[in-house]
């Protein structure tokens, strides 16, 4: 089966919005090389469960592909057209299982030493698409906040070392009521610029009380789903013939209802939550990894205007079979190790925020929870500076406004 043979009725297995989307653009899809098309379908098949920013981006990409002449399309996608595929890939059910196709394609590219060529083609395409269809600017300057170090009484090593060159480091922050101040600031932004999935609060532990308008994901709230997932993983591992790749495929096919995550009344967010557990690496066992990965995916996919991520202590490292079997109650925590994880996680949060449109106007704040150290980055923040003046988080936030 090749793309040119595509017909609308072949997409009847797609959810309604996705089916409508691909049917509208079937002529454009028929013109795409097989090394490229399933990557588009992988996004399209999830269209009903995507965030608004993702939906708009995909629609704009398809509209752009549709607008290109045959010569232009050939020029845009020539790198992909030169990728040699196997007969097995050509015969794969890439219409109904595009994600699995892409996994197989990845393996094929590595094995046949075509990964570098594919990577070059993908980068060139992304650059051209960005130029032809510039990303939408945010409705307001973005603000990212990372709260690190929960549960750490004292820590003598320098914090925020990777962030310091980009902003101002504060050493005398009044920590009183700090988390409340930050959550209130996030809520105020949500009220000032309400939009679906635009203002997020991610917590690596038990979430603090927060405004209901925030999109919230927390490790503690997902504990039942996580326990159910770990149970399924243990059962899968014991199954004859199961290998790591088969397990990964199986996990990717799990739906919110499989883990009791379908009761929230928000199918988009339910899908997002389950993907954090089934597609992340380490998110199932380490809360710091969960918080960092969830922030990364929220930024990449939902492109929020505001994102507050609070890291919490993760359990200590143990053999994987013990980690998989552990209950929340039995886990011994590693607060200092978690602070180091979170420090790096804060850096990654900032990097990922800066990959979004409007980076030159975006701001970022990292704070050592309960302590006097913080760091800010913003368009007006002097780089690589240190402030030893007494200050509170309200004042710091004001400096970023």
């Amino acid at each position: 089966m090749l793309p040119r043979d595509l017909k609308p009725e072949q997409f009847r297995g797609y959810p309604p919005e996705a089916r409508k989307l691909v049917t509208n653009y079937i002529a454009a899809l028929q013109r795409l090389p097989l090394s490229f098309l399933p990557s588009v379908l992988r996004e399209a098949i999830e269209f009903d469960y995507k965030f608004p920013a993702e939906r708009r981006a995909l629609e704009r990409e398809l509209a752009n592909l549709s607008s290109l002449s045959a010569e232009q399309l050939q020029d845009w996608l020539q790198g992909f057209a030169q990728i040699h595929l196997s007969a097995a890939l050509e015969n794969f059910d890439w219409i109904n299982a595009p994600a699995q196709f892409v996994e197989q394609l990845s393996s094929h590219l590595w094995t046949t030493h075509q990964l570098d060529a594919f990577r070059t083609a993908a980068v060139a395409y992304a650059d051209r698409l960005r130029a032809a269809v510039p990303p939408e600017p945010p409705a307001m300057p973005r603000l990212g906040i990372a709260v690190v170090g929960q549960g750490v009484a004292s820590y003598d090593e320098p914090l925020f070392r990777k962030l310091r060159p980009h902003g101002a480091y504060y050493s005398r922050v009044n920590p009183e009521n700090g988390l409340r101040v930050l959550l209130d600031a996030v809520a105020a932004r949500a009220k000032a610029h309400p939009a679906p999935y635009a203002h997020w609060y991610i917590d690596g532990g038990q979430p603090a009380e927060h405004d209901v308008t925030l999109t919230s994901v927390s490790y503690a709230a997902l504990e039942p789903a996580r326990a159910a997932l770990l149970g399924k993983m243990r059962a899968d591992i014991d199954r004859p013939g199961m290998g790591p790749e088969a397990l990964r495929t199986h996990l990717a096919q799990l739906r919110p209802a499989d883990l009791g995550l379908d009761k929230g009344g928000d199918e988009v967010l339910d899908r997002f939550r389950i993907k954090m557990l089934t597609e992340g690496s380490g998110t199932q066992v380490f809360s710091t990894t969960f918080a960092q990965w969830t922030a990364r995916e929220a930024l990449r996919r939902a492109q929020p205007l505001t994102l507050l991520v609070r890291f919490a202590p993760r359990q200590r490292q143990r053999p994987m079979n013990e980690l998989l079997a552990a209950t929340a109650e039995s886990a011994e925590l590693d607060p200092v190790g978690s602070l180091v994880d979170a420090d790096m996680g804060a850096y990654y949060n900032w990097l990922n925020q800066q990959r979004l449109p409007g980076a030159d106007q975006a701001s970022f704040l990292a704070w050592f929870e309960g302590h006097s150290q913080a760091l800010t980055i913003g368009p007006a923040t002097p780089r690589g500076t240190t402030s030893t003046s007494a200050v509170d988080l309200i004042q710091i936030l004001a400096s970023l406004a």
């Binding site: 570098d116 990577r119 790591p244 690496s281 380490g282 960092q292 053999p319 990654y348």
Partner: protein, 363 residues
């Protein structure tokens, strides 16, 4: 970056014009240490990363010839990449399957060409899939000509008869596919050989294991025991602690780097203190490949090696020992498949099917 780190050591890096003719008459030996799970420059050779590798920086680099651009153009999975290092060919076997390399390994060339007994080539490796690393399925070589493979974690599990409560920290898994330990097969070390070959009772092994803190420490312990009892001429150790990075916990990744740094220095000290090795042994240390860059939005920084970007493909190598010039840094790109032909030239065998080239700077 790595050049700068090495040159910052100043006068200790002034080249030592040791003549190749200075190699003693004892039988030449080679020890290779690979890391399954590379460490990036950010956490190692840049100024702020050097605190994580004090032993490499202060002790080993000044004594070594150091190559800053070792490129791996193959599949960036640990088993298949280690197999590629060991064959000198970019292998394409399934990284997660228990399969032998498709091309002859360095151990087979070594033993067949030089008519060496099985006890003269050993691999100490993590217990996940690496049990087949010792010999290929190549018809001209293959079964019976490869290295003996010790899987210390498997050995410990066997010694404990499955009761591993106190040893969990030494039995941590393959982080790349953290949920699986494949069925073991092939030429693996048998428990009864513990006493016969390593002269180590099960009880002594168990009690010593309790003093160790990680699987790689266990591997080094076994490697040292091998050196003491069997003194193999070709010993290959694959370490794996750093690869905890796949779980996404940065602090654990850094701990792995620091531990690996310490263990490399311990191995070098062991080489210098063992009579069978001192003065006639070349040590090679190299990660199998790197990890993803922070700058590639397709990856997640240190956590994986999936993007195939330059940082994930590029790593370094150091060589130390008699006849190897000290304090010399080479920036020219070389490939990880060059290792086997280099070992062939050093030890005197002919790796006829390897794709790489001998590294002239070491010969």
């Amino acid at each position: 970056m790595r050049t700068g780190a090495a040159m910052a050591l100043g006068s200790t890096l002034i080249g030592n014009p040791v003549a190749l003719a200075g190699i003693p008459t004892k039988k030449k030996k080679v020890v290779v240490i690979t890391f399954g799970g590379g460490a990036r420059d950010q956490e190692t050779f840049v100024p702020e990363g050097q605190e994580n590798i004090p032993n490499l920086m202060r002790d080993l680099i000044p004594q070594s010839t150091f190559f800053t651009q070792v490129v791996n153009r193959g599949i960036l999975g640990h088993y298949v990449a280690t197999a590629s290092l060991a064959t000198g060919v970019y292998e394409t076997i399934n990284n997660f399957a228990s399969l032998p390399p498709e091309h002859p390994t360095v151990f087979e060339y070594f033993r067949k060409d030089l008519r060496r007994p099985p006890t003269d080539a050993w691999v100490v490796a993590p217990s996940n899939g690496f049990n087949r690393i010792g010999e290929s399925n190549n018809r001209s070589y293959g079964p019976g000509l490869g290295a003996s493979v010790i899987l210390p974690k498997h050995l410990l599990t066997a010694a404990m008869s499955g009761r591993t409560t106190d040893y969990g920290h030494l039995l941590r898994d393959n982080y790349e596919s953290p949920l699986f330990a494949q069925d073991l097969g092939g030429n693996e070390f048998q428990l009864q050989q513990l006493e016969m070959m390593l002269k180590l009772s099960v009880d002594d092994f168990k009690s010593h294991a309790l003093t160790l803190s990680s699987p790689d420490e266990l591997s080094v312990y076994i490697a040292r025991r091998l050196m003491r009892q069997l003194a193999p001429s070709l010993l290959w150790i694959t370490m794996h602690d750093i690869d905890i990075a796949h779980a996404g916990a940065y602090s654990l990744y850094i701990e792995g780097i620091r531990r690996t740094d310490r263990l490399c220095a311990e191995m070098w000290k062991a080489i210098q203190s063992e009579p069978d090795y001192a003065g006639n042994t070349t040590l090679f240390i190299l990660p199998d490949f790197g990890r993803d860059s922070d700058d590639d939005s397709g990856g997640n920084g240190f956590q994986h090696h999936r993007t195939g970007d330059a940082l994930s493909r590029t790593t370094w190598m150091m060589a130390l020992g008699p006849g190897i010039r000290e304090g010399v840094v080479y920036d020219r790109p070389m490939q990880s498949t060059d290792l086997v032909p280099t070992l062939g030239s050093l030890l005197g065998f002919s790796p006829s099917l390897a794709q790489g080239r001998p590294i002239a700077e070491l010969l």
